[in-house]
């Protein structure tokens, strides 16, 4: 993985504050946990029926009955709980998740999220994504700033089928941290070495700049 992606993941980890209940979506968000200090007080939730996710296990260490929603073998921590799928999503829909981190194909300037379907190419089903996007108290996205062809993933409006409308609060990319506000995208931080102009060039909608100096972010291990 590129170091820019690693630094994005490390920066996103600082979004998690002590005491939160957090769901980390499949893909890049799952790796955020690797950047949390070992004793950090947080409760990780997974849709298939568990709170208190512990470290990921290799196949030879794994319990065959203990996976996360992405199919990785995980462990318990003292205080973990198991429950059925209805209970798991009762937690999601009733607002028990303080934060969810999701991947994205597209995010619009009004915070619409498209991350489950590319008609004709990719349609594995929506899984738990709609409920996470619509009901977590804070939804942040981790994504590369552009797709493999270099097209912006942050756009004025989404062209792909939506997961949920007006749900994304903040976007972490391999170039910048960007907030979704009533005025549209606002640049919050850039990755060290990348200019605001470069970020704006790679963004498919107007990008507002703060009045103050723009902080740069780097990986900060161990808080």
């Amino acid at each position: 993985m590129s170091s820019a992606k690693e630094r994005m993941i490390a920066r996103a980890a600082r979004e998690i504050t002590p005491g939160m209940v957090v769901n980390l979506g499949i893909g890049l968000p799952t790796q955020v946990v690797n950047h949390l200090p070992r004793d950090f007080p947080v409760c990780l939730h997974t849709e298939n029926g568990m709170t208190g996710i512990g470290p990921t296990l290799t196949p030879d260490q794994a319990d065959r009955n203990l996976i996360d929603a992405g199919g990785s073998y995980v462990s318990t921590v003292p205080g973990s709980a198991f429950f059925d799928s209805a209970t798991s999503f009762a937690m999601v829909r009733s607002g028990r998740l303080d934060l969810t981190m999701l991947g994205a194909f597209e995010v619009s300037a009004s915070g619409d999220l498209a991350n489950w379907k590319i008609p004709g190419k990719f349609s594995p089903g929506v899984g738990g994504g709609v409920e996470l996007a619509q009901k977590a108290r804070r939804v942040v996205v981790l994504t590369t700033h552009t797709d493999r062809a270099g097209n912006p993933k942050l756009k004025e409006t989404c062209s792909l089928p939506l997961t949920a409308r007006a749900c994304v609060a903040r976007i972490f990319t391999d170039m910048a941290v960007i907030d979704v506000t009533p005025r549209g995208f606002v640049l919050v931080e850039t990755l060290g070495g990348i200019s605001a102009a470069e970020v704006a060039e790679a963004t498919g909608a107007p990008l507002l700049l703060p009045d103050t100096d723009l902080p740069e972010f780097e990986a900060r291990h161990g808080r």
Binding site: N48, N65, D84, F89, G125, V130
Partner: protein, 230 residues
């Protein structure tokens, strides 16, 4: 008084499944998927089935065997991401697939098991998941009518059970099993350990045996239950 004995042979329980039946199958990935009951359904051969299951397992595992054997005409599910074969059958029109938001599938099944006609939710409003669904206004806000789901048969995997059909699950093998165990006309459970009456403490029961029609002990666990080496 003595509670009835519902222990059975797997083949004789599975023989009750008819062509065209709706069959709920527990499991999320490998954990909780009743691999042995699924294999018995393949051997039994009833076709034109509607399968209701969270996911389609992986190629060569779980309900993929029912897809391979051509017994499935319709799949009500949430996510097929780990089964390229299922996606290919869907894309070529060989099976019809209905996608549900995962927690809404769980609630529709829970409603079916609880004798409720539908649940109301705002999940999916403004997306293509809302297309074709009745909308009602509750407290000034639009909600989608999510109709209850029931099945002719449910196939369940338990860790422990007693011969009355009281069931207990472990870890993330719980998932859809306790919900589906309440939502079918005929509920068949396989269990890793079958206990005599009293062997499963009343406080340890997750699914009350009243919901369960047949319970069978697994002689051994096939390779499909094991940790997947990726």
């Amino acid at each position: 008084m003595r509670l009835p004995d519902k222990s059975c042979k797997i083949a004789s329980a599975i023989a009750k499944i008819k062509p065209g039946d709706r069959v709920m199958i527990g499991g999320f990935g490998v954990p909780g998927t009743p691999m042995t009951l699924i294999q018995a359904l393949v051997d039994h051969g009833a076709d034109n089935l509607t399968i209701i299951k969270n996911d389609a397992n992986e190629p060569g595992m779980g309900i993929d065997h029912l897809l391979q054997s051509g017994q499935v005409s319709r799949l009500i599910t949430t996510h097929l991401g780990l089964n390229t074969h299922a996606i290919s059958l869907m894309n070529t029109g060989q099976i019809e697939v209905e996608f549900n938001a995962q927690g809404i599938l769980a609630e529709r099944i829970r409603a079916g098991g609880a004798g409720i006609g539908a649940v109301l939710s705002d999940i999916g409003i403004g997306t293509e998941l809302a297309v074709g669904k009745q909308v009602v206004e509750i407290a000034g806000k639009p909600h989608l009518v999510e109709t209850a789901l029931r099945a002719d048969v449910a196939l369940i995997h338990a860790d422990r059970a007693d011969i009355f059909g009281n069931l207990a699950y472990v870890a993330t093998a719980q998932n859809f099993n306790p919900l589906m165990a309440m939502a079918a006309d005929c509920v068949i459970a396989e269990t890793e350990t079958l206990l005599p009456l009293g062997g499963l403490a009343a406080n340890a029961v997750h699914t009350a045996g009243v919901f369960v029609d047949h319970v069978a002990e697994l002689a051994e666990l096939s390779k499909e239950y094991a940790v997947v080496q990726r």
